[in-house]
């Protein structure tokens, strides 16, 4: 057996170990590789930056704990930015399994920024119906969410003053890990009720959302942990996303090297087999 053939039959656990080490070492000893800000992430940042104080910002945290590593840093950055700009924040989720986590992140960032529930922000929680909830909110926000997550009636909350439905929202961002998510907010929300929409998503979903970005259906897109890291740089608050970027680069490099090596070994063993076949013939 040649070296190439031996390498092609390598125990897959060795590859797991290599990837694990490539992730762990940069996390323990970060290098701080430069991160370039993309236009799509800047689109979301610039729009929030352009909103006047007291504008209504809706953040829909449409994900569950399975997508936490990518979307949690995004939600923290967006909430910090919105609170820093003194926007009125309406947070909610369309994913029942993410309700507790969404409440935790909103409460945690609000406390950190000295914001008060009901006055500066409200967490509406989850309501059944998926996309139907968006349509319901477009007609009557109080019909879709008669009470907030803590059980307080939404009617009369200072943060919702002058907000009757989605038409009164100045900017909405959906952080989606699937359906319902960014696409649902566009189809059943923005397209019908005409508010500005941005998106955040997991890396898996990002390629599917680029057509919406190019056509202007969404004005910005934060894709995966990389997008979260870019946003952390824009708001000048380093978090878990930036910390993970060195590890991300190292693992990508390792995977590229492995793909090239596997191809080299494959073609080398194929050529050898052909030559041997020719000799036999």
């Amino acid at each position: 057996m040649t070296f190439a053939e031996r390498m092609l039959r390598i125990d897959r656990r060795i590859i797991f170990l290599v990837i694990g080490l490539c992730t762990l070492i940069p996390l323990l000893y970060p290098v701080g590789l430069p991160i370039k800000i993309s236009q799509e992430v800047r689109g979301v940042y610039d729009h929030i930056e352009s909103l006047p104080e007291g504008s209504v910002f809706l953040l829909s945290l449409d994900f569950d704990p399975a997508s936490k590593p990518e979307l949690h840093p995004q939600s923290i950055s967006l909430l910090r930015h919105a609170f820093k700009k003194n926007l009125r924040v309406i947070a909610m989720t369309l994913w029942v399994s993410g309700t507790g986590m969404a409440d935790q992140v909103v409460t945690q960032v609000a406390r950190e920024m000295g914001k008060e529930s009901g006055k500066d922000y409200v967490f509406l929680g989850w309501s059944p119906g998926g996309t139907a909830v968006i349509i319901n909110m477009g007609q009557d926000l109080y019909g879709a969410f008669p009470a907030d997550y803590s059980g307080k009636p939404t009617k009369g909350l200072p943060v919702l003053q002058g907000v009757a439905n989605l038409r009164d929202v100045n900017y909405a961002v959906s952080l989606g890990a699937g359906n319902p998510g960014v696409e649902a907010w566009y189809v059943f929300g923005k397209d019908k009720y005409k508010f500005e929409l941005g998106g955040g998503c997991t890396g898996v979903m990002a390629p599917g959302l680029y057509p919406l970005l190019r056509s202007g259906q969404i004005n910005g897109l934060i894709g995966g942990l990389r997008g979260a890291a870019e946003y952390e740089i824009l708001i000048d608050q380093k978090g878990k996303a930036i910390a993970g970027m060195d590890a991300q680069s190292a693992t990508h490099l390792a995977i590229i090297v492995l793909v090239i090596m596997c191809n080299l070994f494959y073609f080398s063993s194929r050529n050898r087999a052909r030559q041997q076949g020719g000799e036999v013939a």
Binding site: R13, F16, I19, G20, T23, L24, L27, L28, K68, P69, E70, V96, S97, T99, G100, G125, W126, S127, P128, T131, A132, I135, P146, A147, G151, E183, Y186, V187, F188, D191, K192, T202, G203, V204, A206, P207, G208, P211, R214, S215, G216, Q217, G223, G224, L225, R226, K240, A243, G244, A247, Q248, T251, H252, I255
Partner: protein, 252 residues
């Protein structure tokens, strides 16, 4: 630090390590964590759904505010439960018909408008731009999504990929060239999607490892160290047991 946070850290660390043991091989620790994940997720969803739907959106408005009209959707929803009674299962079709009808009515026009018409509108862009004072211009920037060059690439990509999926004509001669171009565009799209998928999966690993590093802190009681040791010990014991069992079977 609050005791519930410390307990949470120990549980999260233990379950993460148990799940990671699958990378070595399938084992009871992985099965335990996997089943717990499924059970807890389903339990959480049931409780949240019951509390939000049954208690807050149905029971309270009816009992406290007298909103009796809510009984109509409740009745339609209850019809679905007749699926469990074979003789009365046909009644559930009314509920399904209502849901399918309303759902289709809401979704079809909006989806056509958002995903077909808007995307066609974006694909059909002018190849040349008329700039006042400069006349007809052609922009070459690959980095600018709305440049003339990118518009041509999109036009070629969309046309060739659509032709590749057009099976009424045999892909020979010039048609073969167009279909091959379509395949190249498809491969680039798959490559981009796969690249993003790798990035996403690595992000998940980074997330878990970040937490494991955080839980090495003495304020949590260093669960990462203790539980990693315990997990490795359990894997060794299980491996020894299975090998001794195997050798006994071979002796028989």
């Amino acid at each position: 630090m609050a005791i519930e946070i410390i307990i949470g850290a120990w549980v999260a660390t233990g379950l993460t390590l148990f799940i990671f043991t699958f990378l070595y091989k399938d084992n009871p620790l992985f099965k335990l964590a996997e089943n717990l994940y499924v059970g807890v997720s389903v339990g959480y969803t049931i409780i949240k759904t019951y509390d939000t739907v049954v208690v807050q959106l149905i029971w309270r408005p009816i009992v406290e505010n007298g909103e009796w009209a809510l009984l109509v959707p409740v009745a339609i929803g209850m019809l679905m439960l007749t699926r469990y009674v074979p003789k009365a299962a046909w009644i559930s079709r009314y509920a399904f018909a209502f849901i399918v009808g309303v759902g289709s009515g809401l979704a079809i026009p909006r989806t056509i408008s958002s995903f077909i018409l808007k995307q066609i509108e974006d694909t059909v862009r002018p190849l040349l731009t008329l700039v006042p004072g400069e006349g007809v211009t052609f922009t070459w920037s690959l980095l600018n999504p709305s440049s003339s060059l990118n518009t041509i690439i999109i036009l070629i990509g969309v046309s060739s990929v659509l032709f590749y999926f057009f099976f009424s004509v045999e892909h020979t001669g010039p048609g073969k060239v167009v279909a091959r171009t379509g395949i190249i565009f498809l491969m680039i799209a798959f490559g981009a999607a796969f690249g993003y998928t790798v990035m996403a999966r690595m992000s998940l690993l980074i997330g878990r490892l970040t937490d494991l590093i955080e839980f090495t802190d003495p304020s949590y009681g260093r669960p990462s160290f203790w539980l990693a040791g315990l997990t490795i010990l359990m894997l060794v014991v299980m491996a020894r047991r299975s090998s001794s069992k195997q050798s006994k079977e071979e002796e028989k």
